[in-house]
Amino acid sequence: MIIDLPQLSLVVLIGASGSGKSTFARRFFRATEVVSSDACRGIVSDDENNQAATADAFDLLHYIVGKRLQRGLLTVVDATNVHPEDRRRYVDLARSYHCLPVAIVLDLPERVCHERNILRTDRDFGPHVIRRQRTALRRGLRGLRREGFRHVWVLESLEQTDSVEVTRTPLWNDRRGERGPFDIIGDVHGCYNELLALLQELGYEIQPRPGAPRGTCQVTPPTTDGVPRRPVFLGDLVDRGPDSPAVLRLVMQLVAAGQALCVPGNHDVKLLRKLNGRTVQVRHGLAATLEQLEPEAPAFLEEVRSFLDGLVSHYVLDGGRLVVAHAGLREEMQGRGSGKVREFCLYGETTGETDEFGLPVRFNWAAEYRGRALVVYGHTPTPEAEWLNNTICIDTGCVFGGRLSALRYPERELVSVPAADEYAPSVRPFLQRDSDDARSAQQQHDDMLDLADVTGKRIIDTALLPNVTIRAENAAAALEVISRFAADPHWLIYLPPTMSPCRTSTAANLLEHPAEALDAYRSSGVDRVICEEKHMGSRAVVIVCRDADAARQRFAAPPGESGIVYTRTGRRFFDDASLEADLLERVRAAATRADLWARLETTWLCLDCELMPWSAKAQGLLRDQYAAVGSAAQAALAATVPTLEAIADRDGSEEVADVLRTQRARQAAVAAYTRAYRSYCWPVTGLDDLRLAPFHLLASEGRVHTDRDHLWHMGTLAELAADDDLLLATGHRVVDLTDADDCAGATAWWEEKTDAGGEGMVVKPLAFVARGPRGLLQPAVKCRGPEYLRIIYGPEYLLAGHLDRLRQRGLRHKQSLALREFALGLEGLQRFVRKDPLRRVHECVFGVLALESEPVDPRL
């Protein structure tokens, strides 16, 4: 006997004690697939035969079964299951996870069971128990199908049990192996001419067979990379329109030839029921179809009947990345088979209410969709096919005078042809938008982010690092920052990562030196790096759109906004909206001059920048800390030194001289400190006093520019900065790490820059994303100059006894943080560019901010 199990089923073994269930299960299933009541008894009570633990054991068993089914795993229940009330629970569980419940009955003779039990030392119940169990089993045997088991196999003898084979068959909807390319076509509703026009528009060559009935054609599909494309019909082929038979004929022919796929729509199923001779209410255009079918031969009708009867509710395609269903499909139902799944595929979900037109109010499942698979569906006519949460409805109401649309997959391009006529009146005027909201459906939906999408422990899969973990307490900290201070999440597509300094130098009077940065990249196998001047101001992310219209379309910006400048924590950089607007206008004009809109085929740019002076943003910090310390230190030492000079005149001891020397050194250090911070401060009275230095052109429409090297970024941004003093090109040089002179030159350049008051430099592999033998490399490390570091480590950090202690610093955590934030930052941009729903972009931005709350030495 062959037991052919559906791939995803709940297998309920039924048999008396000793009938060999566990042995059977071991023979045909993986140990993890089998959930046994005895094992559960053991887990909850340390005794597999403890009948007193039965209730708890079954609670556990049901819980495990539920979890496995939820995750889409075939599961076998190993328990006697001889009473209908024991089995009811499994049928319910299978149904609620849209799996098929099946039963395998081991109805072996009582003698066999009894003999087996005698051999087992842990079972001391008498034959009467087995007799009772078998009686119950046999009584229920006939009712198993009625109980809801979709398949029942009964094994009645040892011989039969020994000779059995178990196979597994994928569900009909599982077509994951089919990779496309596809042209997915929305509700045709008998609009044959439009269907032909659409197919031709898509590149199909169609030759109607002369003399044959309409719909009989020779179809040659277009190819992509040599692979012929295939239409996928989303159902509702019939009703309302002028020529349902022709549409059926064409689609049936394509499907039969393996040239197309088709899922059923509610109208198709209603027609099927009519053809099956059932009584159905003839309306919604079915009357028209029946009339059109009237002249057709009974053989054709039978062909139609059998075709419709064979349609599978939905398909999972392309390795699980694509799902097609007439009315869409929730994630938990994809690839599953149950009556509910089929219902959903055909009719979607309704709220039980009716609208003012008497039509059922549809529950917008797509608004809550979180699945990874793209779901393409029809059923609900809409004026424009719109993306929402990785789903798209492409029923654009052809039969109501709208358009017939197709989605090209994997290209995700929409192609449509207009209806030649309004073939049926729409009860609900669908061409009218629900509201006068100019934003897209996704934008309207994105207005409301869900707390559950950001809080708690989260693991984010990024293209650069597989799993970036965000701990719950860091997410909690980020939530506070984001919700209290951050700009509108629509604008926040990127937050910059932190950057580690190079390894600590051991050279005299230095904490950081280029040698360590260059060495580190060389020993990771990098041949060329770029050294970029490090500007000392405040980090600023600038998003500038070509115009307000672009800002609205791409960032759902409110009227009047056409860009933003925000800080590394997502706060608006400027309190003064007009100053921000003026700055953006200058950047916009520069982009226009540099022809970036056309060159990058974009309406927006995202720039990673430093905005100077430091004092523009860090006023509070300067006043409360940096200037304050300078002022206090100067005053204190100015008072101290003369008092010591006074006694040094009197007391020539070495002790006094020593204290005086120290205080003078401190005084000099403080003066140097004040000089250091002053070089990053100048008064700002207006835009012309600011300097914006963009150093990454991160992204523009359709592209994250991490595939270009840093020279491209530097070059393009230098062009941007060319004709406006507000914008600053960043000094840089490329260094061949295998050339000692080149490396020495870089060091000399760093010395020159830092001597002139510069902060230092940033060293990056020339490629934006670089990998070494041990994985992703630091995207950049900073080498800060000794004078600048006074602002970080205090005015006196170079004095005797201090520097040595400061050299003890650990960089590992900072480096790991830098990598994780880099990966998240770029992932956010990728998702934005891919037009993912906002929550997916926000997740990354939120993640960067959460990681930033991890405690790490702030001086690094």
Binding site: D447, M448, L449, D450, L451, A452, V454, T455, E473, A476, L479, E480, S483, R484, D488, P558, S615, Q619, L622, R623, Q625, Y626, A627, A628, V629, G630, S631, A632, A633, A635, A636, A639, T640, T643, L644, A646, I647, D651, S653, E655, V656, V659, T662, Q663, T674, R678, C681, P683, I791, I792, Y793, G794, P795, E796, Y797, G801, H802, R805, P858, R859
Partner: protein, 474 residues
């Protein structure tokens, strides 16, 4: 940091006997946080000046941190004023260097201990936080002639203005031990900070060094508050012990207590009224389950717990720390199980949809919306009125027009630094009515606090009630 004390008492160098430090040479002392040098820049018979130079180790400050952490940034930073200014480090040093003098003992010159000497103390840099008149308030009642020079933050950037730092001179003819005790207590009071954890023993230190002068000082409350870092219980304890010593009259003590209470309650009274009004509105709604959105440290939650009508209370705040404090203040871990089950605290943000907030009878949103940026209000409106969708929403916010009635508020200013806006009555009504209309609620308004005939009440309250028949858009 340099402190100098000069005297013109004849012979001036006798001060060395009081301080137990030889005027002839420089002496260095190791302290836990660095070193102190004591020396005499001037030491002759007419004039003698002793200098205390404190060297705080700037690296050790950060690396060997022992003091309170997390609550203030100051000790986490290498760029730090502590090595340069007079602060609690100086008090600790004074105690270590001159405890004998402060305690009023001198082997060689016992008669000088209680002798008022012409003294002038100069603090090279001291942070005076809270306005320079604080110096006068603190030292003038003790008889000092006070002179102070402010140091600009940076002379190259005059627009940054002056900082807190002053060079301060205090002159008076007074026994040296009094001067030292005054400095010991009042330096950290000026600075308004301590580099170590303030515990109950700090009260003993305050009393040991302040017993004979603090009780009568008109600024004693402020001194105790600042010295004890605003730990109210410690302050009350210190003041009570001072009063106990000097003023056993129970009536007078009672009067003082009343005064204190009034001082504390003045700003609280409006808050109490507000909580009362909100509670009344929630009760009147008949709600049994109630959300307190933006519950902060749990003022309203306590009242809600006290009303048996509410069987399910959820406090939501975006600040995790506020929730922790609320849990502590409400003593959640010690509530009986039945009570404990009534209340939950959870972190949440009002601009995100939150499934956990759906299905409640009522929500209180007390003094919250003014902390949201106006562009984020639509998200808040949808999260609350469309998704959480409680039957009743009780919402309060300041009435901007009333601000002219606050003496302490400069014209045009908002009441709190974090307020992103404050609305007039008309603006609030406009917003509330628009919002109610959009989401299928009815709204009415009530004043909270003294309803000024001209500018209205200080706080305005809106009560939204859901029209259940209507299905609101999401």
């Amino acid at each position: 940091m340099l402190l100098e004390i000069e005297t013109t008492y004849a012979p001036a160098t006798d001060i060395g006997y009081l301080l137990h430090k030889n005027p002839a040479r420089l002496q260095t002392f190791d302290l836990s946080f660095g070193r102190a040098h004591v020396y005499y820049p001037v030491a002759d018979a007419e004039r003698c000046r002793v200098a205390v130079l404190l060297e705080v180790d700037p690296i050790g400050l950060v690396r060997n941190r022992r003091g309170p952490s997390g609550n203030r940034r100051s000790l986490d930073q290498y760029v730090n004023d502590r090595p340069y200014v007079a602060s609690s480090f100086m008090s600790v040093a004074l105690n270590a260097l001159f405890s004998t003098a402060m305690n009023g003992r001198s082997k060689e010159r016992p008669e000088l201990v209680e002798t008022p000497l012409p003294l002038r103390a100069t603090l090279s840099v001291v942070p005076v936080r809270g306005g320079v008149d604080l110096l006068e308030r603190l030292f003038a009642p003790l008889g000092y002639e006070v002179a102070a020079t402010a140091h600009p933050l940076d002379e190259q950037f005059p627009e940054w203005g002056p900082g807190h730092y002053h060079t301060v001179t205090l002159a008076q003819t007074i026994p040296l031990r009094h001067l030292l005790r005054h400095l010991y207590v009042l330096i950290p009071v000026l600075d308004n900070d301590k580099h170590y954890w303030v515990g109950p023993d700090e009260v003993d230190k305050l009393l040991a060094r302040g017993r004979d002068w603090l009780g009568d000082h008109p600024a004693r409350e402020q001194i105790a508050d600042r010295y004890l870092k605003y730990r109210r219980r410690l302050t009350r304890d210190a003041l009570a012990r001072l009063a106990g010593d000097d003023d056993p009259d129970p009536d007078a003590t009672g009067a003082q207590r009343d005064h204190e209470e009034e001082r504390i309650e003045r700003p609280l009274r409006l808050n109490t009224q507000r909580m009362g009004a909100v509670l009344a509105a929630l009760k009147a709604s008949g709600a049994r389950s109630v959300l307190d959105l933006g519950c902060g440290e749990g003022n309203l939650l306590r009242d809600l717990l006290g009303a048996r009508q509410f069987t399910r209370i959820v406090g939501v705040d975006v600040s995790h720390r506020a929730l922790e404090r609320a849990a502590a203040r409400l003593k959640l871990d010690r509530l009986p199980e039945k009570q404990r089950q009534r209340i939950t605290l959870r972190q949440g943000a009002l601009t995100y949809r939150d499934a956990g907030l759906a299905g409640f009878d009522a929500a209180a949103v007390v003094e919250v919306i003014e902390h949201l940026d106006p562009p984020r209000l639509p998200a808040f409106e949808r999260a609350l009125f469309a998704f959480a969708r409680p039957g009743t929403v009780v919402l309060t916010t300041p009435n901007r027009a009333y601000n002219v009635r606050w003496d302490s508020l400069p014209g045009g200013a908002l009441r709190h630094r974090d307020h992103r806006f404050e609305w007039t009555r008309a603006e609030f009504r406009g917003w509330a009515e628009r919002t109610a209309g959009a989401f299928g609620y009815a709204v009415r308004f009530l004043p909270i606090g003294d309803d000024d005939p001209e500018v209205g009440p200080p706080t305005q309250m809106a009560i939204f009630e859901r029209n259940d028949a209507e299905d609101a858009p999401r």
